[in-house]
């Protein structure tokens, strides 16, 4: 058996300097393309990086009942996602637990393209069958397309050379376009919290589009980015990762492993819940959760106090680890007060941000500890001993540059 590869693999493989490969959703992918993760990371924040996001599962949802299906399936109101728009959304089970997050691109009237970390073909088809929606087709096109994310301040300087359509895209805008003669779907989306685009391209056109992109990027330090640098940037962007910060309810054994949208900090997706009458899956349970205030915790940002972080390591005679520490290992959080080791919650992602010059984390805390500025203790290991460092609840995202959502400037030629 040979491992599954993306249609860009033949171009990416020689660019992977350390020769490291790992598995992502059955595909062989590079965790990093350089020895310096920081260098890759700064391509996103200062120049432009390209990430192969092909291993995501992809479905097309088409037909006059497509929006009815998605209205039933999705937490956010799909009617607010007009043609030429994309939407970050989640879908839940009947108990109001999150099954999956993903991005929907409304490409054309009655045509939606969906990406997600787990397969969702049968889930969507079952909804159509249950609701008796006859004019909707849900097709898995995972093998038919490659997807590239082009992210960073110079993303448009590169992409703009290849298509004039990128310039007109607002944040979460989407459009059909052509690059190097190949049809693509372009959206101003990404997982880095920076200016960026994602493009879908048919497998047979993938190398042609890659080559055009690579040539256009040469003058802008276009840098291939692996999964680790992407994940570093997404922590700064306050974006949750399924498998790290939460798990799909489909594969959970008990509710303690499941989480609701409110518990994941996604109440903003439900801002207009009272005004609409959508019958989406999980609605009744979520309304009960809101009314009865049964959310068990919330998901917050945590900014570690730099002085205190330095203190615990320096007291032990060692240098504080501040370079390229990215972790998805659970770290316990305690209440600060008179009682020692008074367990409160945990951090699910931790990153020593080079840009922000401090460690940051995504954390689950009980509702009385979620106000911005609330002080908690985060447990770190110092020469194999548990030590507490001061951390404060912080607003998400940690990093939110104006260019992420601003209209792009045409570079002077």
């Amino acid at each position: 058996m040979t491992p599954r590869t993306s249609p860009f693999h033949t171009r990416l493989a020689p660019l992977c300097t350390p020769g490291l490969w790992k598995d992502w959703a059955g595909y062989v992918v590079a965790p990093q393309y350089q020895y310096s993760l920081t260098n890759e990371y700064y391509a996103v924040r200062n120049s432009v990086a390209v990430f192969d996001t092909t291993p995501l599962f992809k479905v097309h949802v088409t037909g006059s009942d497509a929006s009815a299906l998605l209205e039933r399936a999705l937490l956010r109101d799909i009617r607010t996602c007009s043609v030429g728009r994309a939407q970050y959304t989640v879908w839940c089970d009947e108990e109001g637990f999150v099954m999956q997050d993903g991005v929907i691109v409304h490409v054309d009237e009655n045509e939606y393209w969906v990406t997600s970390a787990e397969p969702t073909l049968r889930t969507f088809r079952q909804i159509a069958r249950d609701r008796g929606l006859s004019d909707v087709r849900v097709e898995d096109v995972s093998d038919d397309y490659g997807i590239l994310a082009i992210q960073g301040p110079h993303a448009h300087d590169v992409l703009g050379q290849l298509t004039a359509d990128a310039a007109g895209l607002r944040y979460f805008g989407a459009s059909r376009s052509r690059i190097a003669g190949a049809p693509v779907v372009l959206s101003r989306t990404g997982y880095t919290g920076d200016l960026g685009y994602e493009l879908w391209v048919e497998r047979s056109d993938a190398l042609r589009v890659w080559d055009a992109l690579w040539d256009a990027g040469a003058a802008y330090n276009l840098t291939p980015m692996g999964n680790t640098a992407l994940k570093m940037s997404r922590v700064e962007a306050g974006l949750l990762l399924m498998g790290a910060d939460f798990h799909s309810s489909r594969f959970a054994w008990v509710d303690a492993q499941r989480e609701t949208p409110l518990e994941l900090g996604w109440s903003w997706m439900l801002r207009k819940l009272a005004e609409d009458d959508r019958d989406f899956i999980g609605r009744a349970a979520i309304e009960r959760e809101i009314a009865d205030r049964t959310s068990r915790w919330s998901t917050v940002g945590l900014a570690v106090d730099s002085h205190d972080y330095d203190r615990v390591y320096e007291a032990a005679g060692i240098v504080p680890p501040l370079h390229e520490v990215y972790s998805e290992t659970t770290m316990s959080i305690y209440r600060r007060g008179t009682k020692e080791w008074d367990y409160a919650g945990y951090a699910s992602s931790f990153f020593t941000s080079s840009l922000l010059k401090r460690p940051i984390a995504l954390a689950k805390l009980p509702l009385d500890l979620t106000d911005v500025g609330t002080e908690v203790d985060l447990e770190v290991q110092v020469i194999r001993q548990p030590k507490n460092v001061l951390a404060r609840v912080a607003a998400l995202p940690f990093f939110n540059p104006a260019r992420k959502t601003a209209p792009v400037r045409e570079e002077a030629a």
Binding site: N39, V319, H323, E324, T352, K357
Partner: protein, 529 residues
């Protein structure tokens, strides 16, 4: 006649330490004014677009020793601080050989092992030893040094604390410290390494910006100083600020203004106004008086004590010290606008080799010969060059597809034995260009423009005496408790209310911000007592 302007604090000089100092004072609530002689702030840390689209780091070009407290206390991240790593070190020879170090310790081991297996292992031990030593010295970087001449019991206690701290260090750390204080860089290297190219990899840190040979005992300390910094906690690593070091000082300027401080450019100060031993303000070159009971000079010691005030009003022993304080600038810069990347035979097209320092100076004898020229009063016929193609890190530094290359050149003595810098500058640039050509054949054909910065340019443009990039040599006799003079090493001056915060005070030079921070601590402490 309108009333004279009045500020709580007036900072003379908008170099990076002046800006740091002003930001701290403004943050503490003082009505603070920065007066800068030139049309832009930044001092020696500026970025200028001398050719459209090409941005040159005119003088200072990298960051490592910036004090973490400055970043945190002034919330510099929110004002745009962005330091990217200089990940690679490229040490080529003229015979096609090279050492290319990067981010991975074991890749680096194997790269050095290509030249000598024993040297590769020795490098691991030396790197770890320096890292431990630097960690041990770090607390003393971030505190006001004690006054060695003071009768004050607190100073005596601090001197005692310092000496007991040093004698309590782990023996290997203490031994390495002694070695760096008493050995030349070349001797330290000869004891550990056999391969010339490996030695040269380390040796250049011992001469940067200093009129010393790699065989001079003073080069050990110069080397150590250059390793005192870190990049995100990685000891001895350097970074490149977005937009160059001028980008960094613009961040500082935003911080000053954020905290309510005011910056005035094109405002040269002619003297500090004082009476009865106390400062009362400043007088500008155009005769304007500005009142303020706190006046801080961010200039170098010569300007601070011998130009802005009357030396006759200062204690004779201080004046004697200041007159003996050594500047003797010995470094130059040539910044190139390039039509493409320089090509190293066998590594053509590799932009990554330039994402860091490229050191041209492949052996100890090469570096010694470079110094021999300097000792005879001429610039090195084959200089040591510390180069960086900064546009490979930050595409904003040059037009798309083009590049800027900063070349720091050793040695270029402030005083030439024959000829004048005004007529020798092009010859210097030609020499630098030919030297790069020795390593990167065809380099000359890429050059679209070059900017030449001699020690005289550094002195006349930045105001650093004799063009010394550190505001005074990094000699033991001029550092820590002796910087700039024993007894006057705590940011105060003999004139009450008049302070010093330039790189000529501890822990300057280099871009540290430490003098600005510590001087502010002293000023605010004096105010509250």
């Amino acid at each position: 006649m309108t009333a004279r302007e009045r500020y709580d604090a007036i900072v003379i000089g908008g170099g990076h330490n002046g800006l740091v100092n002003a930001a701290y004072l403004a943050k503490a609530g003082l009505k603070t004014l920065v007066l800068e002689r030139r049309h832009l702030v930044g001092g020696a840390a500026i970025t200028e677009e001398l050719v459209p689209g090409y941005r040159f780091t005119t003088f200072s070009y990298a960051i490592s020793l910036l004090r973490p407290d400055v970043v945190r206390d002034l919330d510099l991240v929110s004002h745009g601080l962005m330091v990217m790593p200089l990940v690679n070190t490229f040490q080529p020879d003229t015979n096609g050989d090279y050492i290319l170090l990067g981010a991975d310790d074991y890749v680096n081991y194997h790269e050095i092992a290509r030249h000598s297996r024993e040297d590769a292992e020795a490098a691991q031990d030396l790197d770890h030893g320096i890292a431990r030593l630097v960690r041990a010295l770090k607390p003393w970087m971030d505190r006001i040094p004690p006054n060695p001449l003071s009768d004050d019991p607190s100073d005596a206690a601090e001197m005692a604390e310092l000496s007991s701290y040093m004698s309590d260090l782990d023996r290997p750390v203490r031994a390495l410290l002694d070695e760096f204080m008493t050995s030349s860089a070349a001797d330290i290297l000869d004891r550990r390494f056999e391969n010339e190219l490996v030695k040269s990899l380390y040796a250049s840190s011992g001469i940067i910006g200093s009129r010393v040979s790699v065989r001079d005992v003073a080069s050990g300390l110069v080397w150590l100083v250059h390793k005192m910094g870190d990049y995100d906690g990685v000891p001895g690593q350097w970074g490149f600020h977005k937009g160059g070091n001028g980008g960094f000082t613009q961040v500082l300027a935003r911080a000053v203004e954020h905290y309510g401080g005011e910056i005035r450019t094109n405002a040269p100060v002619s003297r500090v106004v004082y009476e009865g031993g106390a400062a009362h303000g400043v007088e500008l070159a155009d005769g304007t008086r500005i009142d303020g009971d706190i006046v801080v000079s961010a200039l170098d010691p010569r300007n601070t004590f011998l130009s802005l005030v009357d030396a006759d009003d200062l204690p004779a022993d201080l004046v004697a010290h200041l007159e003996a304080y050594r500047y003797q600038g010995s470094a130059a810069k040539v910044n190139f606008a390039l039509s493409g990347l320089p090509a190293f035979p066998g590594l053509e097209g590799r932009a990554d080799i330039f994402q860091g320092f490229t050191n041209l100076g492949p052996s100890i004898p090469y570096l010694e010969a470079a110094f021999a020229d300097c000792a005879e009063g001429r610039f090195s016929r084959r200089p040591f060059l510390d180069c960086c193609v900064q546009s490979t890190i930050d595409p904003g530094m040059s037009p798309a597809g083009k590049h800027v290359m900063s070349c720091f050149a050793m040695y270029a003595p402030y005083e030439l034995a024959a000829g004048e810098w005004s007529t020798e500058r092009d010859a210097l640039a030609d020499t630098v260009q030919e030297t790069v050509e020795d390593f990167f054949p065809g380099f000359g054909s890429l050059v679209e423009h070059r900017e030449i910065v001699t020690p005289h340019d550094i002195e006349s443009l930045v105001g650093l005496s004799e063009g010394n990039i550190f505001a005074g040599e990094l000699f033991e006799s001029q550092m820590f408790v002796n910087r700039p003079a024993p007894g006057w090493n705590q940011y105060r001056t003999p004139i009450a209310g008049y302070y010093q915060c330039g790189s000529g005070t501890h822990p300057g030079g280099c871009v540290t911000g430490g003098p600005g921070m510590l001087a502010a601590r002293q000023i605010l402490g004096d105010r509250s007592s």
